[in-house]
């Protein structure tokens, strides 16, 4: 059965790259979540938070913690308020290129 993670129960309106990392850690640390079958609900979140830096950091953190799950993480289903957000997230996720952690930290 698909697990739904409610973003607003985990995230704050902090710096988008920080919040993306926080979301990845929360998802990966939750033993009951199978990335193959998860939906992340980001409705009612500020559009200024849900930018490329948020999603890139989410994927980058997944790669840093469990690199074998990166491709699965790209297929996560996102619930968002607007159609343009869905299109943008698809574009960012498809284009994401993971960086080695040392390089990403520069």
């Amino acid at each position: 059965m698909t697990t739904t993670i409610i973003g607003r129960e985990i995230l704050k309106n902090g710096f988008p790259p920080d919040e993306g990392r926080r979301l990845a850690e929360a998802v990966l640390n939750n033993d009951s979540v199978d990335l193959d079958d998860v939906e992340i609900d980001l409705t009612a979140m500020k559009p200024a938070l849900l930018i490329s830096g948020f999603f890139n950091s989410f994927l980058q953190r997944v790669y840093e913690l469990k690199p074998q799950l990166l491709e699965v993480a790209r297929t996560v289903s996102w619930r968002l308020d607007f159609e343009f957000q869905q299109a943008a997230v698809k574009r960012w996720v498809d284009a994401f290129k993971a960086q080695d952690p040392e390089r990403a930290a520069l």
Binding site: G14, F15, D18, I51, G53, F84, A88, K97, R103, A104
Partner: protein
């Protein structure tokens, strides 16, 4: 003193430049410099940010900036409200409808909240739909995040500002205004400039204005700046063109103005050791038709 056209912005830049040329650095008791707004018909968010810049530059040179104007005039009341909000940050200053008062974003953690407040102002005071305002909020969030990620280095003694801050001001048309609705947001940071970021990564010999225009091309900053995977400025260019608006960027010695008509760039001075603007000022105007 508003910034809608490149010529109008250049006029303002020349005023600031002339003022700084007449206030040479000195030590000892603060000298006073007066900037008069008595014959000024209006000001906008860019004017306010340039006042902030002038004030801080003069303070570094041992000067204190005083503003004078007609207390009953529209520009003076705007200055009073905005600078009052900056100084107190305590909700005492009440904005007029559509006004997004000047504020300092002193940490990246405040960024989302501040941009969302601007978007709320646009939703409340213009005919923009929720979706339209959300799209603008997202695109502007991209740019401000880039400023915090790449533009602002750690504060060093002697820097213009010793903290990592961005200053933001804006305006949305009042809903009762019969004129076409528009939204304006301007932001200024004091970090590494766009030309400084790109000058060693692109073709040699480009002026600062040309470097800024290059930065607005899709893929340029993504190729040139480590870990930048967002489209940032190129997306913003698409947004202003789609909304019959304009994007103005003043960074180091370059000025670029991009609209649905023609891109325009200009170099302000060539001495990069004493740049015109130690940072970047970005102004975005979006029209609702």
């Amino acid at each position: 003193m508003t910034s809608e056209t490149p010529d109008a912005l250049l006029d303002m830049i020349h005023v600031v430049h002339a003022f700084l040329q007449h206030t040479p650095k000195h030590h000892g008791k603060l000298k006073k410099g007066l900037l008069s707004f008595t014959s000024c018909e209006d000001i906008d968010a860019v004017t306010l940010l340039l006042i902030m810049y002038l004030n801080h530059q003069m303070a570094r040179r041992g000067w204190q900036l005083f503003l004078i104007g007609d207390p009953g005039s529209r520009p003076w009341r705007k200055i009073y409200r905005n600078l009052g909000n900056m100084k107190r940050q305590d909700k005492i200053t009440k904005p007029e409808p559509g006004e997004f008062l000047l504020r300092e974003v002193s940490s990246p953690q405040e960024m989302v909240k501040v941009i969302s407040e601007w978007a709320d102002c646009v939703r409340a005071d213009t005919s923009a739909s929720d979706e339209q305002a959300a799209l603008w909020e997202m695109k502007i969030g991209e740019i401000v995040t880039n400023s915090f990620q790449h533009g602002l280095g750690p504060g060093r003694p002697g820097e213009l500002f010793r903290h990592r801050s961005i200053y933001i001001a804006g305006q949305a048309s009042c809903i009762s205004d019969p004129k076409p609705h528009m939204a304006h947001l301007a932001a200024m940071d004091f970090g590494r400039t766009i030309p400084a970021t790109l000058e060693n990564k692109l073709a040699e010999g480009l002026t600062d204005g040309e470097l800024i225009q290059e930065a607005c091309q899709r893929g340029v900053t993504a190729r040139s700046v480590i870990d930048n995977q967002g489209a940032g400025l190129a997306d913003l260019v698409d947004l202003v063109k789609a909304n019959n608006g304009s994007l103005q960027i003043l960074s180091r010695n370059g000025l670029a103005h991009i609209s649905h008509r023609h891109p325009y760039s200009r170099n302000l001075q060539r001495d990069t050791k004493a740049p015109f603007l130690e940072g970047s000022l970005t102004s975005i105007r979006l029209n609702l038709t």
